[in-house]
């Protein structure tokens, strides 16, 4: 007998924006174009206005003026790394650690406190949040909806920045900016294949017509995960970016896409977690209108919709405990289908304004609203769907009273239906000791809003109206997690030596961390399942204090030649609240992480790059038996570029995990040497 634990409600239809719809939108906008020229002859180039392309919201803030520590990864660094996952790129950023929580599930985090989910950091792709509202929250790295080749740059805020990015910008913010459609090659194709079942293929084409640019990317990324485990993956992606210059001041940016992550999960021989194929599909559409003014001020109005559909169901033979057999008159065992499929919908709208107030003062402010809807009959028994809302108001004032001094004061006020109203402030002062040296001191407070699962989870395994197992109980109410951080930064940009030194000394106090807790089941004693007398719930619990120093020293005489060393020394102290918690965060990041990377253009089109990563002893899973020994990893990439077919081609060979077999996430997961190669052609 096979029974479903689902309620009758079916999934609403996915609402991906089709390519055709997008093209229709563009066609309808095609009626207006950049203002017609008022100048006729060859003098037009001197007299006509052209679109404002570098207004405040498009410009990156110089590192020396940033109110926190920021690391920028550009296209050259991304290419030279040879890494296939965006999460892995964070290995290059001081303070970050990354791995795969099983072969098919990447995970990354800043300063530890990360288990198998990246739920204390935030990733934004062109302003779209990749923080999933489902389950424990966090970044779904397999469903970011961006191809690594379309990335223009990745700006990583090392630290907390809820004042600028809102809740969940808790420990680390990764801001991914993709290239404008107009700025992309007409056609690119790439393919790589090799050990570990690596088989990736990607193509992109760009259409430009006057003021309209459209880029379409299709990609498939496959591998088989860790050796001897059922953890392969098959990622498929379609992503479309459109840019339309409506007038010299007004521009429309659109993104639409759909992606599907097929992930192998489970363990051989484990009936509770059998080997199976699961999928997470995501679709999204974003539109951003940008009005730029001649003085560089601008405003943007953005809206996006994001839909996620997870499918995971398996049937297991469940042995019915004797008391329940007697109580309900049930057989010794039943085939029960556990269907943890879910669906989320997110709508987010934001207005942002960059404003020059005076010669010494600039401001950015804005407001936004978000609605999340999570449908999961398994997690939310009897309710099925949880709706949450969040309104936000934010602002930052930058004041430069003298050439050497820069003050930043910012705050975000958020009103969330799950955790009430919170204000996340940030204060920073930058002192430019010289044109090449900056000292920075900053203080901030940031929050992570509890997810619907953490607050409202209510999971019951029911057969014929009878509760066989009750695994999760609602927490009722939870306070958001809170981090209060102090930092002292030093930045030296020694142009004449082509050298940059970036140092951050930090002290981060994390409070009210949301933890699992066991509570006695709130059911009549005769209905208690004897094998599970308790249920899981969430409580505000652990505190952690993270302090240390991280730095990156980079010598980069030219764009494709560099040598860098980055190190993080950190100490995590954790204290428990009550007796039911183990002290488990202290090893959630190594005491020392060292990353040495470099790239060298040998000449004749040959490029050689290498990276060496050293992680000290740590424990991702935070259980006694999963203490991992220190490990190191060396990657090499050799590329040869040449002209082909009127375009540019590169053949490359990548070797990863040279020298040592590592246990990266769990002791039984081993990462062997991996060699793969491929080509990329652009026209």
């Amino acid at each position: 007998m096979t029974y479903s634990l689902h309620c009758g409600k079916r999934y609403p239809r996915a609402c991906a924006l089709s390519v055709q719809t997008l093209l229709r939108i563009f066609a309808s906008l095609g009626l207006c174009g950049v203002c017609s020229s008022v100048v006729a002859g060859d003098e037009s180039a001197f007299l006509d206005d052209s679109p404002v392309v570098l207004s405040a919201s498009r410009l990156s803030q110089p590192l020396r003026d940033a109110p926190g520590a920021v690391t920028v990864l550009d296209r050259e660094q991304i290419r030279a790394s040879g890494l296939r996952d965006i999460s892995d790129l964070l290995r290059l950023v001081p303070g970050f650690i990354a791995t795969n929580a099983y072969g098919s599930y990447p995970v990354a985090g800043y300063h530890g406190l990360t288990r198998d989910r990246s739920n204390r950091m935030l990733v934004l792709i062109d302003g779209r949040s990749a923080y999933s509202p489902y389950f424990l929250g966090g970044v779904e790295w397999n469903n970011l909806g961006v191809d690594i080749d379309d990335i223009e740059r990745i700006e990583v805020v090392r630290g907390s920045d809820s004042a600028a990015y809102g809740a969940n910008a808790f420990l680390g913010v990764v801001n991914i900016t993709t290239r404008k459609a107009m700025d992309s090659e007409r056609f690119t194709a790439s393919k790589q294949q090799g050990d570990g079942g690596i088989d990736d293929v990607s193509v992109a084409g760009t259409v430009k017509s006057g003021d309209l640019g459209l880029r379409i990317r299709a990609r498939q990324q496959r591998d088989t995960g860790f050796a001897n485990f059922y953890d392969g993956r098959n990622l498929e992606l379609l992503d479309i970016r459109g840019d339309y210059q409506i007038s010299n001041q007004l521009a429309l940016e659109t993104h639409a896409g759909a992606n599907k992550a097929g992930i192998a999960r489970g363990n051989y021989g484990d009936t509770g977690d059998p080997p199976r194929w699961t999928t997470v599909q995501q679709s999204y559409a974003l539109a951003r209108l940008r009005k730029s003014e001649a003085n560089g001020d601008d405003w943007t109005l953005s809206y996006y919709h994001q839909h996620e559909l997870g499918q995971d169901a398996f049937t297991q033979n469940y042995l019915i405990p004797v008391p329940l057999r007697v109580l309900f008159g049930l057989p010794a065992s039943l085939n029960i289908t556990t269907d943890s499929s879910y669906q989320t919908n997110r709508d987010d709208i934001e207005f942002e304004r960059f404003q020059t107030l005076s010669d010494t003062t600039r401001a950015v402010w804005g407001l936004g609203w978000r609605h999340d809807s999570i449908y999961s009959p398994l997690l939310f028994y009897g309710v099925n769907t949880i709706n949450t809302q969040e309104a936000r108001l934010f602002g930052n004032l930058e004041w430069r009273p003298a050439a050497k001094w820069l003050f930043n004061a910012g705050a975000m006020i958020e009103k969330a239906s799950l955790s009430g109203t919170k204000t996340a402030p940030r204060l920073a002062v930058n002192y430019h000791a010289s044109s090449q040296q900056t000292v920075r001191a900053a203080w901030s407070r940031a929050y992570r809003t509890p997810t619907s699962y953490e607050v409202d989870s209510n999971t019951k395994y029911i057969y014929d109206g009878k509760v066989l197992r009750w695994t999760d109980e609602p927490a009722g109410s939870l306070r958001p997690e809170r981090v209060t951080a102090w930092e002292l930064g030093y930045l030296a940009e020694l142009h004449s030596l082509a050298t940059t030194l970036d140092v951050r000394i930090f002290d981060e106090k994390v409070e009210d961390m949301i933890q699992d807790a066991k509570i006695p089941l709130n059911v009549p004693a005769d209905q208690l399942s004897p094998d599970r007398p308790e249920a899981r719930t969430s409580v505000n619990g652990d505190r952690a204090r993270i302090d240390g120093i991280e730095y990156q020293l980079m010598w980069r005489p030219s764009r494709r030649n560099w040598l860098s060393i980055a190190q993080t020394f950190m100490n995590i102290r954790s204290s428990e609240v009550g007796n039911q918690f183990e002290v488990r965060n202290q090893r959630s990041a190594p005491h020392v992480v060292t990353v040495i990377s470099g790239s060298h253009e040998v000449g004749y089109g040959v490029n050689l790059s290498a990276a060496h990563y050293r992680y000290g002893r740590m424990n991702w899973e935070q259980t006694e038996q999963e203490n991992l020994p220190p490990y190191h990893r060396t990657d090499l990439r050799l590329g040869y570029e040449f002209g082909a077919g009127g375009g540019k081609a590169e053949i490359f060979l990548i070797a990863q995990y040279l020298g040592q077999v590592n246990n990266e996430f769990k002791q039984r997961y081993t990462t062997d040497r991996r060699i793969f190669g491929g080509f990329r052609w652009e026209y």
Partner: protein, 329 residues
């Protein structure tokens, strides 16, 4: 009858409105005054008609005409301005005017095809357009030009003054700008800078060219070649250069708004003012000057871009004055 001699329409109207004897007395007075003006000599003596042929009667061209008129008035010139557009000029005789000023490319084309005796000043056109005039026209000693583009020396000096750390100057050359780019490159070499030139044949080649030009930073000097730098391409050029953290030096006010770090340009008003000065001299009997670059110019800086690129810059006026001093020590 005398009133017909009075050039100014309101005065004529006033005379008609007055009773007979008064009118006649005033008319005599005015006539005496005009006589006095005529006989006392001075520049006003040769009140002449200047035909100002605008490519179009709006926008930048109108701004030019307004500045020209204002400058002549400020200089107490009484020349009559006949402001017409290029279409009117095509069908009208210019036999009765003493000087013709052609404003913009369209006006230049119409005037180049027309036969008239008066000297011709062509302005608000780039040098490359002027150079395309038939040699017979250029060498007839009756034609001169006041270009809209800046002298190569000033352009290169701008880089030296505003961005003293810049060593490498990248230039994009197109079909129409080989000569111009070669001139700029030569001046740059003379100034001990390192110019690098990439030739472009289509828009698609811009990005790879910028990539080749700046393996290690530098400055991109935009050149007035509409096949390369036009409203369609400027955004992409600026974005591509910004990606390599390469500042763009532009040649128009619009390019600064768009995202160029700094630009050197002469506005239509400034060219109008300088044209008025040339007109006054020519009508006073000075020979027609040789074709020239503008003397009056502006410097524009995009401070937002400067800050983003971490470039500390002097103010627009300081840079302008330094350039001025370099030219007139």
């Amino acid at each position: 009858m005398l009133s017909q001699l009075l050039p100014i329409r309101p005065m004529r109207a006033l005379l008609c409105a007055l009773p007979g004897p008064f009118a006649r007395a005033l008319e005599c007075l005015c006539f005496a005054f005009v006589l006095l003006l005529v006989t006392t000599g001075g520049r006003e003596a040769s009140a002449a008609t200047i035909a100002v042929v605008l490519s179009e009667s709006r926008g930048a061209y109108q701004e030019f005409a307004d500045a020209l008129r204002a400058e002549l008035r400020r200089d107490q010139q009484t020349h009559e301005l006949l402001v017409i557009d290029s279409e009117q000029a095509a069908s009208r005789s210019l036999a009765d005017v003493q000087l013709v000023i052609g404003v913009g490319g369209k006006a230049m084309d119409v005037l180049a095809a027309k036969d008239f005796k008066a000297p011709l000043l062509l302005t608000l056109i780039p040098r490359s357009s002027y150079d395309k005039l038939p040699a017979a026209r250029r060498d007839d000693h009756k034609t001169t030009g006041l270009f809209i583009d800046q002298p190569p020396t000033r352009y290169i000096d701008l880089v030296r003054v505003a961005l003293p750390d810049a060593d490498r100057i990248g230039l994009l050359a197109g079909r129409d700008s080989h000569d111009n780019v070669a001139r700029l490159a030569q001046v740059a070499r003379d100034r001990k800078l390192h110019p690098a030139v990439e030739t472009i044949n289509s828009e698609g080649e811009i990005y790879p060219a910028i990539q080749r030009l700046f393996p290690d930073g530098g400055v991109l000097l935009a050149t007035p070649d509409t096949t390369i730098f036009n409203t369609q391409t400027i955004p992409n050029i600026i974005l591509s250069a910004y990606r390599f953290r390469v500042p763009v030096v532009g040649f128009s006010q619009g390019s600064v708004k768009s995202g160029a770090l700094i630009a050197l340009f002469s506005t239509p008003s400034q060219l109008g003012t300088q044209s008025a000065e040339i007109a006054s001299k020519v009508l006073a009997g000075t020979p027609l000057p040789a074709p020239q670059y503008p003397r009056i110019f502006s410097v524009g800086i995009n401070t937002v871009v400067a800050r983003s690129l971490s470039i500390e810059m002097e103010s627009e006026s300081v840079i302008h004055d330094r350039l001025d001093k370099a030219e007139h020590p």
